[in-house]
Amino acid sequence: MSTTADSRNTPISLDDPLSAIEYCYEAGWTDGLPVVPPTTELVDKMLTDNGYNPTEPVGEHLTTKRTCTAHAAAANSVMAGCLPEHFPVVVAALRAMSKPGFNYHGSTASTGGAAHMVVVSGPIVEQLEMNASGNLFGSGNRANAVIGRAIRLIHMNVFHMQPNVTDRSTQGNPGKYTLCVPERIEKSPWPGLNVEFGHPEDSIVVVFAAGGFHNVENHFAATPEQALLTVADSMSCLDSLTHGQSIVVLSPETAEIVAADESWTRRRVQEFLFENAWRLNEDLERVGRPWDSDSVREQYEAPVAGSDGLADRYHRGLSPDDILVFVGGGDAGAHSSFLPSWSRGRNSLMQYEIV
């Protein structure tokens, strides 16, 4: 399928919407699930409702020198099932992922199989009726599902990161279909992420090239230390232990236990997790993981030791700042989650953008 650079190609005529769905499969435009056909009416409305010039760049895949125009983003967003009101979040996520520190190409090409996670915080969560409660990472909410899916379709159709062609992920990641979650602010003992990032009046997205989802369960924890040591233990698992960043989503129940004492601020939680998420170097040696190789030293340009200065251990991340903590999920259940950075450690760093 040959198109023009801004994807405003000559429209393709199909007999009816059902045959258009099949056409999208035949053209190789889908993620395996059926898509909403990107009709001229829906794509044009996505752009005009949001005031975008079709040729305006909204994302850049720096290494491959591919640019995503607003028109291409809109066509893929329509296919994902987005309504026009979802589009600004998609664009904000694309802009955040296009920042050099995110290493967009590496994270979309690697065997590591990163899922490109979008965390949404601020008033838009309620405006879009996103689901921050039960089944946070599960199915059932349109905004959660379609925003993440639009990003994935753009990777495939605009940046040409096609599975098993240019996306060489060994086992993939369920989050590669979609991975967009909002912060559950009404159950958070701490200010919203939008406030933490300095934008109390706005909504933001934080983007993260995530490795596999770890469920962290401890229904017996009765103190902040017990609850958070369980999280730290998950963070120090040898299967994903690197100096990379982390996302920790505390369940409302766990957050309530942690913050029953007001001295447990988000910052204190980050510090506690960093101080306790480590393994002895000899543990890494036992499984053949390098902890002090030249490549580790060169990559981090810092001594490989924790804030406590002890060189016999290897911490997850390089500082408490490397751990993003927020609240999400249903009221019941001490089920939190930890998502490590993609397997290449610090080769992709979290970025954020105002919606």
Binding site: M1, S2, T3, T4, A5, D6, S7, R8, N9, P11, I12, S13, L14, D15, D16, P17, S19, A20, Y23, C24, A27, W29, P37, P38, T39, T40, E41, V43, L62, T63, T64, K65, R66, T67, C68, T69, H71, A72, A75, N76, M79, N103, H105, G106, S107, A109, S110, T111, G112, L153, N157, V158, H160, S295, E298, Q299, R344, N347
Partner: protein, 96 residues
């Protein structure tokens, strides 16, 4: 009722990827550069490939570089070193 679709694909024809280097008219006795992407065994694969080439066509490896970090783009200083080097062609490889 006819349904009109836009393509969601942007093709590669408009992408600025520079131009190809001039092609060789002969493969004999060329100066070879090696650029490892930094993954395990990339250096082994490169050396093997270069040795095979030399066995068949002569020439010599005159430059060996390692970008260390497989998933990031090649740093500017290494790209600069490649462009300034007195080599006829480079071989690069992904290892694992």
């Amino acid at each position: 009722m006819t349904t009109q679709l836009y393509s969601p694909v942007i093709d590669d024809q408009q992408r600025d990827t520079g131009s190809l280097a001039p092609r060789f008219t002969s493969l004999g006795n060329l100066k070879i550069g090696l650029l490892s992407n930094g993954k395990h065994n990339a250096d082994v694969l490169l050396r093997f490939t270069a040795d095979l080439f030399i066995e068949r066509h002569g020439g010599a490896v005159v430059l060996e570089l390692n970008k260390r970090d497989a998933s990031r783009p090649c740093p500017d200083d290494l790209v600069g070193a490649v462009t300034k080097a007195d080599v006829d062609f480079m071989i690069t490889a992904v290892g694992d």
